[in-house]
């Protein structure tokens, strides 16, 4: 009896769970389906769910019409470039704060985090003017520099929390064995730090890929990443939702996969260790 009741309960929860998941996921699912429709089917009423003529022509047209791959490259260069540069600056800092903390470390960390709380619109005007005067508007370098600074606080925080977890005992043991500082870093610390470094890169690439304030305001065409390119679909000329869907599907697919892989780090990275 109790067994049957709990089976019924599991069945109900399974049903409700899948229903909730379907509802939340539906916009993405619908976008992917629409990307394989003809423009006529994409507009049809009642909507065609699966019984339509599947086509991949939208994907071909997206590339032909707009040099889509150039924008993909911009996204890759900007997301990875900004994260890698900020890693180079952040790793030594996080390292020092985790392994040789002073009485000022806590304050420094909190101050760094506070720079992230400044709304970007508060500095839009000067950044725009500086970039205009330096010829950095609509350049990848300009965006990489800017996003790198924006990433820096989160990157340092994440690295700090990861480095903090490296057991000091192992370090002391290897020092007792007379290991030199270079070998200490290469053979003892690096292997333990790499997973944290990889997670930090992953999460920040995702954030930089989707950044849509500076990319929209500081690029027009040449350096426009996918966020800005997709925005150009907002002024409709005729029916092209299937193409919008195809371009969007391609733009989010790689990052969605990365995001799914990094779901554990997401919580940790975005709450600065406040929730584990």
């Amino acid at each position: 009896m109790a067994h049957r009741a709990s089976a019924a309960r599991t069945a109900t929860i399974t049903l409700v769970g899948w229903l909730a998941g379907f509802v939340v996921f539906f916009p993405i699912l619908w976008m992917v389906l629409t990307s394989f429709k003809t423009e006529l089917d994409a507009f049809s009423m009642p909507p065609k769910f699966l019984l339509f003529k599947w086509t991949t022509e939208n994907y071909a047209v997206v590339q032909e019409r707009s040099n889509y791959l150039a924008h993909v490259w911009n996204s890759i260069a900007i997301a990875f470039g900004s994260v890698l540069v900020s890693m180079l600056i952040a790793i030594p800092a996080a390292w020092a704060m985790a392994f040789a903390p002073t009485e000022r470390t806590r304050g420094t960390l909190l101050w760094m985090l506070s720079t992230k709380m400044m709304p970007p619109v508060g500095v839009l005007v000067p950044i725009y003017l500086i970039y205009r005067d330096l010829g950095l508007l609509d350049t990848r370098v300009g965006l990489i520099a800017l996003l790198c600074l924006g990433d820096l606080p989160i990157v340092i925080w994440m690295l700090y929390t990861y480095f903090k977890e490296i057991p000091m005992g192992i370090l002391e043991a290897s020092r007792m064995d007379g290991i030199g500082p270079v070998r200490e870093v290469v053979f003892v610390l690096a292997p333990m730090a790499l997973p944290g470094i990889a997670s930090t890169i992953l999460l920040n690439v995702i954030l930089a890929w989707n950044e849509a304030f500076w990319t929209l305001n500081l690029t027009t065409s040449k350096a426009a990443p996918l966020t800005a390119f997709i925005a150009s679909y907002s002024s409709p000329e005729g029916l092209f939702w299937a193409k919008l869907s195809a371009a969007s599907t391609l733009a989010i697919a790689p990052i969605l996969v990365l995001g799914w892989l990094s779901q554990r780090q997401l919580v940790r990275g975005l709450t600065f260790g406040a929730v584990k």
Binding site: V16, G17, W18, F26, F43, A96, M112, M118, V123, A231
Partner: protein, 290 residues
């Protein structure tokens, strides 16, 4: 603990980050403050002159400012309410064992990874379109008249889109927190015969108080700066219906080329964000002490 030498090394290693972040904070912010005291039109270069606080009085008494401030608060408040309440429910659901739970979890967190311009345009054109959108079809099938979302309920439309984007974040954090709820505590409550409702309010919600605070803090900081979703859907309209503070300042700077006015607005936005940040950091501090 740290030796003299390692302290010096530490300082050298931390210095580049501190210096860069300091410059990043102080230079543009200083320039914004400076510009905010000037009459400075981008289209009339060379005519800049000092006008004191005139930009501020102009900006703060502009009806558009009051409207955009109330829009900002409506947007932030509504999205927080929707995502926290729905997030708690979804987290409770995903905390149960059921068939295919890990797949459902992936489905639920997916929207977080969709870039804002994509989610906004997909919602606007594929779901909320009054003629061919899925919502219109659902409404018609149920015998209602389809709603022209962005014309009739523009603010609600933006709120729905932004809530969809942030729901995964709230859910995932609350779920992580729920999973750390002590099984002993659960069992003890069960043995005491605690009913489901008291159990939810006194044990689950009490346990979630801190993660909920964290969700509110972090989301507020991002939600105060919502921009792309408005940029690609309504352009702040119709009228000023969906113009939030970020969008108002953007328009003043890059559409009307009023550098002075936009800078004053920017400073107002920074001050507001800081009030929220201080308030929430305190809240979190109290929560931490408990």
């Amino acid at each position: 603990m740290a030796t003299q030498q390692s302290r010096a090394l530490g300082r050298i290693l931390v210095a580049p980050s501190v210096a860069l972040l300091f410059l990043w904070m102080i230079v543009p912010l200083g320039m914004t403050i400076y510009f905010s005291t000037l009459r400075y039109q981008l289209l009339n270069p060379g005519t800049e002159r000092f006008i004191g606080v005139e930009n501020y009085t102009y900006f703060l008494t502009d009806p558009a400012f009051i409207k955009s401030l109330s829009n900002t608060l409506t947007l932030v408040g509504s999205v927080l309410a929707i995502t926290v309440v729905t997030g708690v429910l979804l987290a409770l659901l995903l905390d149960q064992a059921f068939v295919g739970r890990s797949v459902v979890r992936l489905m639920v967190i997916a929207p977080f990874f969709v870039m804002p311009t994509v989610s906004a345009l997909v919602w606007k054109n594929l779901l909320m379109h009054p003629v061919s959108g899925v919502f219109a079809w659902v409404a018609r099938s149920l015998g209602f008249t389809p709603i022209d979302w962005f014309a009739r309920l523009p603010m609600l439309s933006v709120i729905l889109i932004v809530s969809w984007q942030w729901l995964p974040f709230a859910t995932l954090i609350l779920l992580t927190a729920l999973q750390s709820l002590d099984t002993d505590q659960k069992e003890a409550a069960e043995m005491d015969g605690t009913g489901p409702l008291p159990f939810f309010f006194y044990i689950v919600l009490a346990h979630l108080a801190r993660p909920i605070t964290v969700v509110i803090l972090i989301q507020t900081i991002f939600l105060l700066s919502v921009f792309a979703e408005i940029f690609v859907t309504t352009g702040g309209g119709p009228g000023l219906a969906t113009t939030n503070l970020a969008f108002l300042i953007y328009g003043q700077a890059l559409l009307q080329y009023d550098v002075g006015g936009a800078s004053a607005g920017g400073i107002v936005a920074v001050v507001l964000a800081n009030i929220v940040a201080i308030f929430l950091v305190r809240l979190i501090g109290k929560n931490l002490d408990r």
